[in-house]
Symmetry: C2
Subunit: 383 residues, 2 copies
């Protein structure tokens, strides 16, 4: 197995963009190649992480389109779809292409263009990933989030405010991220008084609908120095699934696929949860940040809310979580998200995250598809 390095990274501005998916992907891809001063024709594999360009824009074949737009033809191209975990699946696919020995330079670009659709339309496209039985009864992902949040608060006697604190923390981080959709602090009161969406969750418990793209460049670790003085090595990466039907799970507040993927990725890296110095978690809904912290071993079951309330996941805490602003503040263009998480961890472990830099050597990204239906976890370490 060839060791794999990340030697370049980029992301576009996230938010409401006057650009189509092809333009967003090209913007991120070109910037990423530039970040490592790599000519396009050096790329031999190009992966595009995207959930639904066909449904959102009537445009398919986007990995081929991007190969032409970037001038990387005849590099092999493929689209990776794992719903909202497409970006993390893209990291896994790109890692495999280098680790298996067939690629010397792989570019991964993830993106989604969504804001030209109404929030209802976007929610409906996303809900098409659920089981038809659940879908037919109107149980979209926000509904699952509401039901699970209620269960968590009751089960662990956690205050409703603790969820709001996740949003407050991630908004505070987003202020320092020039690419974030929202660069604006909020307070607990604002979050608690925002409109109800899925009881007990309110507007500020949800990530926004976002356009954007992000990119990462991969090569064998023994060639990384050709491209960058400081780079990251992917020391662990793994994926796992949970049941497609959410109501078949024994305990909805336990994210088994996160636990499985996290355990495998940490094992591959030879690391414990305590070794992780910075983490990007998939806070599509605030409640998910608690559940992932617990499944990954960053907090005992039922106690993540205490860690957040105590500030242990703030930028100056023991384990800063979602320094990028997270999905909540940075935004969540489905296919881009996992790649943007990788971008943040790369920046953190190479100490190039600007004011957000927390000085961590080892970082972890956890990308979740559906309601924990599928998960990828990557561990990156600075070199």
């Amino acid at each position: 197995m060839t060791d794999v390095a990340v030697v370049g990274a980029s992301m576009t501005e996230f938010g409401r963009r006057e650009a189509w998916i092809r333009e967003l992907l090209a913007e991120a891809g070109a910037a990423c190649l530039e970040s490592a001063t790599v000519p396009p024709d050096a790329v031999d594999h190009l992966y595009v992480a995207n959930m639904a360009s066909g449904e959102f824009e009537g445009q398919t074949g986007i990995s081929n389109a991007l190969a032409s737009d970037l001038g990387v033809v005849p590099a092999y191209t493929q689209r990776v779809d794992q719903t909202s975990a497409s970006g993390g699946a893209g990291i896994y696919a790109a890692w495999q292409s280098v680790a298996s020995g067939v690629s010397e330079l792989t570019l991964l670009v993830g993106g989604e263009k969504m804001t030209h659709r109404t929030t209802g339309e976007s929610t409906d496209v996303i809900a098409s990933l659920t089981h038809p039985v659940e879908y037919k009864h109107g149980v979209t992902l926000p509904s699952f989030a509401g039901l699970t949040a209620r269960r968590y608060l009751e089960r662990f006697d956690a205050p409703r405010e603790s969820l709001a604190r996740v949003a407050v923390k991630n908004h505070a981080n987003g202020v320092l991220n020039p690419h974030a959709q929202f660069q604006e602090e909020i307070d607990v009161e604002t979050a608690m008084e925002s409109p109800m969406v899925a009881d007990p969750l309110r507007l500020y418990d949800f990530c926004p609908v976002t356009d954007g793209a992000a990119a990462l460049l991969f090569c064998p670790a023994d060639r990384a120095a050709e491209y960058a003085d400081d780079y990251a090595v992917i020391t662990g990466v793994a994926g796992a699934t949970d049941t497609h039907v959410v109501h078949e799970r024994v305990e909805p507040t336990r994210m088994d696929a996160v636990a499985d993927a996290g355990r495998d990725a940490l094992h591959m890296a030879g690391r414990d949860p305590d070794d992780i110095g910075v983490a990007e978690l998939h806070d599509m809904f605030t409640i998910l940040e608690f559940l992932q912290m617990e499944a990954l071993g960053f907090a005992p079951e039922g106690e993540a809310w205490r860690a957040v309330e105590a500030g242990r996941t703030d930028r100056d805490g023991e384990l800063p979580v979602n320094t990028s602003g997270g999905l909540k503040s940075k935004g969540h263009p489905l296919g881009a998200t996992g790649v943007a998480q990788g971008h943040e961890i790369y920046r953190q472990v190479t100490d190039t995250a600007g004011e957000r830099t927390v000085g961590a050597d080892v970082g972890l990204a956890c990308n979740v598809g559906g309601f924990g239906n599928c998960v990828t976890v990557a561990v990156m370490e600075g070199r």
Copy 2:
């Protein structure tokens, strides 16, 4: 790089099926596991090759759905999309998962459900892979095929009947394939008199619209004997792209991405075109069989039509092509096709293709997306 074996294979009946994509995928996947007497929970990676379940059926997240349907949770799952080359891209992804060392048993299932839509709707979904400029002017893939066929016939002074002979040969092969959509011989006259679609191509120059699925099971070659007495080893696999805009290509009768992927796959296998004893080519349109034969080095440029006319690609010829019936007769459920090509080559090199068996030790599958926009080639050898 771990050597990768194929130890199981299956395909559903192709044609008009009263089943949705999830059912088709589950049918093929379960049969494939059964073919190697493997319990579902032994699978650690599951790839689903599919172009457009969202567009055709409003169902996404199908790799998760399949993991649950087959009982392979918590195996990592991902959907692979490379338009009509999704199946070949799936073979490449599955190969990488084993070759990189992270998988001990990977299941690949490719499928598409299309016949509930009209031919026009299906053509329109497929055309969404083309460049918007071409798409806007109504240049669908059948139009490209017509234009290219005209150019080929004129450039190489080939008779119109030579194209019909491709259809006649592949229909004759399909008669022996119990899973083929059409199990019926046709003659040159029938093909030549069928309705005009895209001058000079007529109805019998086109593959049908098809529902179906196929599956392959991969493991490290040194564990293959645990699952099967006779198995195949993937000795070469590669992919390549061409320009997204077809009219930017210098010579449309040359399929550069086929040439690139073929050269790389043969090089990896340490083989020459002459070593190949059986091939599955992507005859979505009859003209494509000529172009691929030439790009892969099976015939000099402009002379594939002579090889077909002389019977050299018949079942009893030097290089039998499309013994399965090809896309023309077997059918073309987009995401299933590349996997079904792999299924046929596996059957041929393990001498288990029933009456179609030609006794070849080395086979090649070439899967094409778009109009040669992206291509994968795999070389398999019997053990």
